[in-house]
Symmetry: C2
Subunit: 453 residues, 2 copies
C-alpha cells in the first residue's frame, strides 16, 4: 500500500467564503410563508429571533458569502478536517471502487455542527445578543452551540428532547461542561412545553417550539437552529470546499457523493460545492441522500408547505414532510428524526439532482461495524446510513467491474452512541418502519397553504 | 490574532524510527530481576508472553529502532497529530507564557495508546500469535488494543478492572465494537482472579495478573502491556518527534515540557526525544510529570525493586512504587491509578532530570474546564493533571514577567469520562490523598530484593 491514505490541508486553506447554492439554482426559490397571511415571510417575521446578519445570509442571492475572520479563527481549532482514502474498507469489500471519506468528527463537539454554531454565535454576539436558545435531539447540535457560546461569551439554553435527556446524560454533561443550561423538553418553562405534557418523551419539533417561544419573548435572547435553514446549509459548505481541494490532491474526481440527511445540513455542506459544479456544467456527479426508514422524509414524504416545528410557531417552508406533528420511532440516529428537510435539499431531490434512499436500523449498524473494523473510526448512527449507501455503491461497482469513485461525508463519531452499538451487538435493535397509516394521519393535519407545482 | 493556531504535518512526516532513550542514559540501566533467582531477567523469562521482536526492543541499546512499514501505514489513520498554540487559554490566563499542546485524542480510540497497541499487535501477528490478552482500567488501553487487533486480524481478550467495568459500559461497548472479548476482573477464569475474589472492584494489578496468567498458559496467546515497559515507551516516541518538528515550524523552543504519569507511556512518548537533546547537551529544557495525589508514585513512593502486578507474576522492576498490592482510591483518572511507573521515567526523576508534582482531583477538573471553555477540547481526567501543571507554570510566568514557552502533551479526550465532569460540576468530587499509613503498610509487603543505590 504505497498510495496516500490521508489528505491534509494546513489552516491557511480554510475557505474564506461560504458557497451559497441559491444563486445557482434554476428558477426562483419558493419563499417561506407567514402562516397568518400566506404572504412570503420577510425580515420582520424573523427579527424577533434572528440577527440581521443571519437573515441576510438566509435570503442572500450572492454566490459566495465572506466568512468573518473571528469565525475562521475558531475554525482553526479543528479545520481543515482530514480526507481519507478508505484503503482497508476497499480491500475488505474486494471492490474496484475508490472510496474517500471526509471526517468531521475531529471537531471538539464530535460532528460537523460547530461549523454553523460558531458562525451563528458570532453573528449574535456582534448584534449585542446575550443568550441563545436552541433545541437538541441526539445532542450533537446542542453540544456544538454550547461550545460556540462558550468561545464567544454568550449564555446558552438548550431544550433537550426528553427521551434523549434520559438516555444520554453524558451529552448533557458535555453541554454543561461548556457552560450551557440544559432543560428537559417538554418542560413547564414554556406554553409550548406545557401544551405537550401528554408527550413526555418529547420530539425535536416540540423542543424547537419551546426554544423559539423563549427567544421570541425575550429581547436579549435569540434562537439558533442547527439545520434546515438556508444560512445553516451555507455555513456547512466549508466541508465540501475543503473536500474539493482534497480530491484534487488525491487526483480523483468523485462519481458519486453520499451523505445522510436529517435536516440536511451535513449533506448540504458536503454536496453544495459539488452540485454547483454540476449546475454550471463543470462536472457530472451523482448525489445520494441516505435517511432512516423510520423517518423517510425524502423517500416517502409529501412535497408541501409545512411548519418547521410541532406547535406551529415558524414560517411555513416548502419541503418534503411527514407532517409537523409526526413523532418518529426512537431509532438511535436521533439527528435524523425530523419530519421535514432543508427546502434547498428538497428542491434538489424534486428536480432529480439528488437521489434519496432509506435504510433500516440494523443494516446501518452492520455497515457501521464493518467501517469501524477496517477504517478504525466508530461512526455516529447518522452517517452510518450514508456508509450503508457507500457499501452498496461499492458492491454495485464490483459487480459492474467499475472503478467508481465514491465520496462520503462522515459527519461525526459515535462516542456518545455506544449504547446503540451495545444493543446492535446484543441483537436487540428493532427495525421500525414508517407506515402508510402514519402518512395518511399526517396528511390530515398539514396546515392550509398554497400547493407547490 | 494573526499568529498561527495549528501546526500540521502531512503523513509523509510520520517518524520512520522510534527513539530509544536507553542508549543515551548515563550509566548502565538497572535490569529487571527474576523474582526466583534475583538474577537479571533474560529473554527466557519473557518469551512465554512476548514475541522476540518486542523483547529485542525492550532490551535494545540502539539509539533508534526502525518502525515497520505496516505500523506506519496504520499510524496514517490519525497521525501526525496536530500541535496547537493555546492562544485562547493564554489570553484567559493573561500570561506572557506561550502555551503549546500536542493533541493525541484524534486517534480513533481517543488517546495516545494506539501508538503502542498497533506496534505490539503487528509484532505478535508476525510471530504467528493468534490472540492477545491484556488488562484495562479506564479503558483507554483496552480500546486501543481492541482496535489494533481488529486491524491486524488478532483476537483480543481484555480483563477490565471491575469498578471500571461497572461504571463505564460504553468503553466496554467500544472494545466489543472492535471485536474484543471483555471480562470483568477479578474473574473466575484464572487462578489469579479467583484468589482476589475478596476484592470485587478489582485493580489494575489484579487485572494484569489475570491477563499474564492466561498468556503464560496458552502458546497461541501473548500478553500486551499498555505502559511501563521500555518497548511501550519506545513506541510512544512518535509523539515527541512530531512535536519537535512542529515546535520548529512554530519557531519556538520549549522551556518546559509537561505530561501526566500513570505508568509513564504518554509522558515518555512526548519527553524522551526532548530529553535526548538535553542529555546530548543540545538543549536546556525542564520536564514536569503530573500525577494524582491519590496515587503519588513519583512524589511519595520508594525507589525499590517491586512487582509490576498484584499477584507477583512479573519480573521485579526498579521503580518508584507504592507497593504492588496498593489499591488506589477510585479517582476518575483511572489511567493514573498504578502503584509503580516506567523504570526509565523513575530513573529520570531520581536523577533530577524530571520534576514530579501531585495534584488533587478537584483542582485538576477545575483546570480541565478552564481548558475546555477556552481551547474547546474536553480533556480526559489523566491529562487534566498536566493541564493543572501548565496553568501553574503560566501563572508563575506571569508573576515573573517571563515569556516562558510551555509544551503540553494532551494525551486524550474525555468523551468517556463525562460522569466525572458531571460529578465535578455538581460539587460531588472528593479529594482523596495517599497517607503515610498507606505507605508504611505497603513497605512491609515489598518483595525481598537488592537495594538500589
Amino acid at each position: 500500500m504505497t498510495e496516500p491514505t490521508k489528505f491534509t490541508l494546513t489552516e491557511d486553506r480554510i475557505p474564506t467564503h461560504w458557497v451559497n447554492l441559491m444563486a445557482d439554482l434554476p428558477g426562483d426559490p419558493l419563499p417561506p410563508l407567514n402562516p397568518g397571511t400566506m404572504e412570503p415571510a420577510g425580515p420582520d417575521d424573523l427579527t424577533p429571533i434572528f440577527p440581521m446578519a443571519l437573515i441576510g445570509q438566509e435570503v442572500s442571492a450572492e454566490p459566495e458569502v465572506e466568512i468573518p475572520e473571528p469565525v475562521r479563527e475558531v475554525y482553526k481549532l479543528w479545520r481543515p478536517t482530514p480526507l481519507y482514502r478508505a484503503h482497508r474498507l476497499e480491500r475488505a469489500l474486494d471492490t474496484p471502487a475508490r472510496i474517500y471519506y471526509k471526517y468531521e468528527g475531529v471537531s471538539p463537539a464530535g460532528s460537523h455542527k460547530p461549523n454553523s454554531a460558531v458562525a451563528q454565535a458570532y453573528a449574535n454576539k456582534e448584534a449585542g445578543i446575550e443568550r441563545l436558545a436552541t433545541e437538541t435531539g441526539a445532542g450533537q447540535w446542542g453540544s456544538a452551540l454550547a461550545l460556540a457560546c462558550s468561545l464567544f461569551g454568550l449564555e446558552c439554553l438548550v431544550y433537550m428532547v426528553g427521551a434523549s435527556y434520559d438516555q444520554k446524560p453524558y451529552r448533557r454533561a458535555m453541554m454543561e461542561s461548556w457552560g450551557a443550561s440544559v432543560i428537559r423538553s417538554p418542560s413547564d418553562t414554556t406554553d409550548s412545553g406545557r401544551a405537550q405534557a401528554a408527550h413526555p418523551t418529547g420530539s425535536l419539533g416540540i423542543a424547537i417550539s419551546e426554544a423559539v417561544e423563549v427567544a421570541a419573548g425575550d429581547a436579549d435572547t435569540n434562537y439558533a437552529l442547527g439545520s434546515v435553514l438556508n444560512h445553516v446549509c451555507l455555513h456547512q459548505t466549508v466541508i465540501g470546499q475543503e473536500a474539493l481541494a482534497q480530491m484534487e490532491m488525491a487526483g480523483d474526481e468523485p462519481d458519486v457523493v453520499i451523505g445522510c440527511v436529517g435536516g440536511g445540513s451535513n449533506f448540504a455542506g458536503m454536496t453544495f460545492p459539488f452540485i454547483r459544479r454540476v449546475l454550471r456544467g463543470e462536472a457530472r456527479t451523482r448525489f445520494v441522500a441516505a435517511e432512516p426508514a423510520a423517518c423517510p422524509t425524502l423517500t416517502r414524504g409529501v412535497y408541501r408547505y409545512d411548519f418547521g416545528d410541532t406547535v406551529g410557531l415558524t414560517p411555513l417552508m416548502p419541503m418534503y414532510t411527514l407532517g409537523h406533528d409526526f413523532v418518529p420511532p426512537p431509532v438511535h440516529a436521533g439527528g435524523l428524526r425530523y419530519h421535514g428537510d432543508s427546502p434547498i435539499v428538497c428542491a434538489l431531490v424534486k428536480q432529480g439532482l439528488v437521489e434519496a434512499r432509506a435504510y433500516k436500523q440494523n443494516e446501518t449498524f452492520e455497515a457501521a461495524l464493518r467501517f469501524a473494523r477496517t477504517e478504525a473510526i466508530l461512526p455516529a448512527p447518522e452517517p452510518a446510513h450514508a456508509i450503508r449507501a457507500v457499501i452498496d455503491e461499492a458492491e454495485d461497482a464490483r459487480q459492474a467491474g467499475e472503478q467508481r469513485v465514491i465520496l462520503l461525508n462522515l459527519c461525526g463519531h459515535g462516542h456518545f452512541d455506544m449504547s446503540a452499538y451495545e444493543a446492535y451487538i446484543a441483537g436487540n435493535l428493532e427495525d421500525p418502519e414508517f407506515s402508510e397509516a402514519d402518512m395518511e394521519a399526517a396528511l390530515e393535519r398539514l396546515p392550509e397553504a398554497p400547493a407547490i407545482a
